[in-house]
Subunit: 349 residues, 2 copies
């Protein structure tokens, strides 16, 4: 079968690999759609970050070259002899997190915080940029009939956005600011709508991303043209209740602090390439709090229920659809060159 494998930074190859089979608690999935994620792009440009190169990943037992792709959905085509909850023909969204588990069940209720955290499609063991892949039964969540496979492939980034909002102190009626309107920022905006935020401000520099945030209902601030802190304080005197940092840029982190009210909260939902300096008096004297979040846990079913209500819509997020054969040129290279792109969906056929 065909799969896209990461060899090293700037070297991802679409090639023939052996087709996997399911045994025990595993299920084999025919991939119907897989999104390209910001972390895929990081691995392509400056990796390895999550990809195991020298030592095999403790759960997958794999190291590079590894098959990429962790935002995917597909059809179950084969099940191992111990599988009880799924059968061939089931439509599933795959939760790609590897964490210590026993007989297919997560043993840690905060499995996204496991020291062995890994991802199917980043840490070996197969991935979604492939015709078929095999995952543990506990990783495959049955999709409601009315959701498309594309929608199923968006459950993963939507889960990040929903987890960020669920881990924050935001309550219905609160005001919020989102810094960065890439895939995660947009998902956070939609999760804030689901959570009943009264006002949602989005700060971003790309015109097309600002347009997408506006389409979702956010009040947008073009950070290339005006100071988002001044602008949001002008629009929402006293500052917002909660801000969400989704850029990983130090200057923007300081903005995400300054934009909150006295006693407000900052959620850091970005991965950092190095240290960032801020003035901690801005945390101390206003008794603000700051919290980091990584991935998600236990919320795939909730995300899919919200999708049935219209949140996290593929129409609002997907900017291009391509074939697996074209993933390097039309996927990775396009995302590097064209910041109007948000979510590119890859189909193996």
């Amino acid at each position: 079968m065909k799969a896209a494998r990461w060899y090293k930074a700037k070297d991802i190859r679409v090639e023939e690999v052996e087709e996997p089979t399911a045994s025990g608690h595993e299920v084999k999935i025919k991939v119907m759609g897989c999104g390209v994620c910001g972390s895929d792009l990081h691995e392509y440009l400056v990796g390895p970050i999550f990809i195991p190169v020298d030592e095999p990943h403790p759960i997958s037992g794999d190291k590079a070259p590894i098959i990429m792709g962790h935002e995917f959905a597909g059809e179950v085509v084969e099940v191992g002899d111990k599988v009880t909850t799924l059968q061939p023909g089931d439509r599933v969204a795959v939760e790609p997190i590897y964490a210590p588990n026993k007989n297919g069940a997560y043993i840690d209720h905060q499995y996204n915080l496991s020291p062995q955290l890994g991802f199917h499609g980043l840490s070996g063991g197969g991935g979604g940029f492939s015709e078929y892949t095999v995952v543990g039964e506990h990783m495959a969540h049955k999709m409601p009939d009315e959701l498309s496979y594309e929608q199923g492939a968006l459950v993963e980034p939507a889960a990040v956005g929903l987890h960020a909002v669920r881990q924050s102190s935001l309550k219905a009626g609160d005001s919020a600011a989102v810094f960065g309107a890439g895939p995660i920022g947009l998902m956070i905006i939609d999760a804030l709508k689901a959570a009943g935020a009264s006002r949602i401000y989005a700060s971003e520099v790309s015109k097309s991303r600002l347009q997408m945030a506006e389409n979702l209902g956010a009040t947008v601030i073009d950070a290339s043209a005006s100071d988002p802190v001044k602008e949001i304080h002008r629009l929402n005197g006293g500052g917002v209740d909660v801000s969400y940092e989704a850029t990983g840029v130090a200057e923007v982190l300081q903005q995400s602090i300054d934009v909150t009210r006295t006693g407000g909260e900052i959620i850091v939902a970005s991965i950092w390439e190095g240290e960032a300096a801020i003035n901690y008096n801005d945390i101390v004297i206003k008794e603000r709090s700051m919290k980091g979040i990584i991935a998600y846990r236990h919320i795939y079913p909730a995300v899919m229920e919200l999708m049935r209500k219209g949140y996290f819509s593929a129409d609002a997020m997907i900017t291009d659809r391509i074939k697996l054969d074209d993933i390097v040129e039309q996927g990775f290279e396009t995302l590097v060159a064209d910041k109007s792109q948000v979510k590119i969906m890859v189909s193996p056929e």
Copy 2:
């Protein structure tokens, strides 16, 4: 009467000033003891920080030269005609926070977060390094008979320590680490004992402060001799539930993060002189949270109740007792030169 007034950095003068009188909702207090605080020292060395110099403080209406001293207790000797809760002879600990208030009552339940935040003894209107001073009735808390005036003067720094612990997520049975065993760090250690922390680690470089922390029951780590992060992880595998940063040093802030468990909390209880750089992946990937605290609110009565039970004891905190006349040489200069000093108590007579 005699008072110590701040003119500029390194220029504090003990001189004769006019004795104030109480009217309306005010009470006049004969000061019986006033501690020298770290912020007094900052004002002495590199001020003005809180002291109004160009514009008068919006609540006190005063600017430099101003009388210093905000950690004090004394005897009520005169009351204004609208005072209903106090009378001459009452022994009181003074809560020095200025914040918008109406007829003697705080109108903001989070008055320590007022944008007009000021302190009696830093922002004009009199202070505790003085024979007498006049404060609003709402600022003077009657002391239980069994507490000494020295103990009353310690209510202020003890309130900072108790507020830090109350604002944290620490629950009885949790483990904690305190960075810096100066006056605030030591008060935090005692507040942690009151809150039922199961294990309390204290990291500090001064030998005598380490001894004081140990006397309070903390497990101490000499940060000049070993790495407190490694040492605390060795002693308390997985990291502590909550850490408290009481130094204002960037390197120590990073330690206070690294020492917490996955999902742990860092309380920043220090004032910063500039920016500090940390790696935010250490916040994000372990879903830690960080919260700032400033001063205290609504807890003077609770602090005094805990003092009756033996917490925040003058015996454990006070390292020297001096006269107001000697405050510059034996107070400020001694605190600069001798890091074995913790709390110096000044008596006006």
